[in-house]
Symmetry: C2
Subunit: 337 residues, 2 copies
């Protein structure tokens, strides 16, 4: 029986602040699985790194119980089939699954989706995967943008944000994109946003709020970041503004378990009869096909730009996760093995 050198990142310790390598243990051993009926042995080539992973490491329950300790870090992956005991998969097939931070594993075929050989496999982790679904339904269903309205996106150069920006533009909206480097802002301008703002150019929320007000105020806010950017938007809402909470990445270094203080803003909701809605990708999992019917043709026609920051090396997974909270990635963060 052939054996493989299986490497795994085991989640061993709950981070209190920034997550890093010290919260994981790298294991490596020979692996010679006996495939059960309908199982497939895969070798992972692309591993997803997403901000939600840090939420699942919070001490308190979030949308579920915390990620269990001493198990392989969960993650979406793209892999190739090495051995197959399942008629739907043959050796060499490219598959997407949720198989975590490990190089090899045996998995039941029902847990895998076969990828077409003619598409960029990174799309399965981005525009045609979970981030695309989050961006599409979060913006269109919770945000309800109308043509001509102003959509503000925080974390606009990220995996979800950069798609929200483009979906809003396709919908005829004016887009104000917030990101943390001038390079990101330049890219967002290339994508066609009317205003790309580097939030680091603003001393405080009032300063940013003044700028947002001078640009006409906010109809829809798609929030990936929270913190002072959100404080500023709350002061700049237009009547019946819709706020979509997709992430609060500025708060993930411990602020979820022990919330930071910020200015109270609920009176603004009253003044503007505004709404806030939290959205989570999994609530739309059963509508993946619907998203693909909208977005798939745009991707095939090259009308949607998707970017990945690809880090080479399985060993770099924990630090790539930590790097999300420093804004190191543009577009989707992926580790290639």
């Amino acid at each position: 029986m052939t054996s493989y050198q299986q490497k795994q990142w085991i989640y061993t310790q709950r981070p209190l602040g920034r997550v890093s390598e010290q919260h994981y243990q790298l294991k490596s051993h020979r692996y010679a699985p006996q495939l059960a009926n309908n199982e497939v042995l895969i070798e992972t080539t692309l591993v997803s790194v997403d901000p939600y992973m840090r939420i699942q490491q919070s001490e308190k329950p979030t949308w579920e119980q915390p990620h269990p300790l001493n198990t392989v870090q969960g993650a979406a992956t793209v892999s190739k089939v090495l051995l197959s005991n399942n008629d739907n998969f043959k050796v060499g097939d490219l598959v997407a699954g949720y198989t975590g931070w490990q190089t090899h594993t045996a998995v039941h075929g029902s847990e895998l989706q076969k990828l077409a050989s003619d598409i960029d496999p990174t799309t399965a982790l981005g525009v045609l995967g979970m981030p695309g679904r989050t961006a599409w339904f979060g913006l269109m269903e919770a945000g309800k943008p109308r043509a001509g309205e102003t959509v503000v996106v925080s974390g606009a150069a990220g995996a979800v944000g950069s798609l929200v920006v483009q979906f809003a533009l396709k919908n005829g909206c004016k887009v104000i994109a917030l990101a943390g480097t001038s390079e990101k802002c330049e890219w967002l301008e290339q994508l066609g946003v009317q205003h790309a703002l580097n939030y680091k150019d603003f001393d405080n929320a009032s300063h940013l709020a003044d700028t947002l007000a001078s640009l006409g105020g906010v109809d829809v806010y798609f929030d990936n970041v929270g913190g002072f950017i959100t404080d500023a938007v709350m002061q700049s809402l237009k009547l019946h503004a819709r706020i979509v909470i997709c992430g609060q990445i500025s708060q993930y270094d411990g602020g979820l378990d022990n919330p930071a203080q910020g200015p109270r803003f609920l009176h603004q909701m009253l003044y503007k009869r505004a709404t806030i809605e939290g959205v989570l990708a999994r609530d739309y999992s059963h509508r993946m096909d619907e998203m693909l019917r909208h977005v798939g043709p745009w991707v095939a026609a090259g009308e949607i730009t998707f970017k990945s920051t690809i880090v080479e090396g399985f060993e770099l997974l924990p630090q790539t996760l930590g790097g999300l909270f420093e804004g190191q990635n543009t577009g989707k963060a992926i580790v290639r093995i």
Copy 2:
């Protein structure tokens, strides 16, 4: 021509903290109006005192520009007709209007609604007026309560809150009512709430959150108060909770212009896919009849309890307004002239 001693409270100075007599000037002079076509001279008997008045004194625009200085304080009133140049009104008629803090005024008949002679005139300022409309549409349309769900109401013994409580009970909900004295809590228990909590019994938001969690968590939160009560509810939400922001009375002593700090909570919206919506009575003004069709028969049948705290004396208007922010009233605060 008959003349009258007209007294008026003129709003002269913007409060920075608690509003009081020093922000008003009491004027008194002889008044002998010449009625124009369709005008009516009224003598006011009941004057409404509402928390929203303090919002309109904020420095920054709210849902409109600030209440103008050096004008009569705006307010809903009940009055009787002294003279009439309008075929729809005769001397002695009881009328509701928005004629402000003054004892007498001439007003166009189109600005007045005639009240039936057989109803308690305080209802025009409460259950069958603006507070009733706010409670009904805020709860039913924004809160969308389903039978069996848990509705938490802050400021539950107030003009709006005590109606929300009763509408929620009629809707088959379990109600947790929050108020600030044991007398108020006893009254709320008489109204039938499952749990009446005196928020002053809780040291901090975590303590209150633990209690709310032990009672099963929150499906709908109707918020009149804000501050630490709201902080606690945000930690106790159930999946798809709906939060209705009707008021933030704990923040009205200056916290609207210069927001206080509180714990960030938007990650909870994500965890629970919860929504927040701000509601304002005026958005439902055109649907007053619809509210009356629902609530009017309950009032006529004695199925809704409405209470007023009636302060005797025109001179006490400013301090009655300030007293709202100390929780002095149970039910609707009214000054009788």
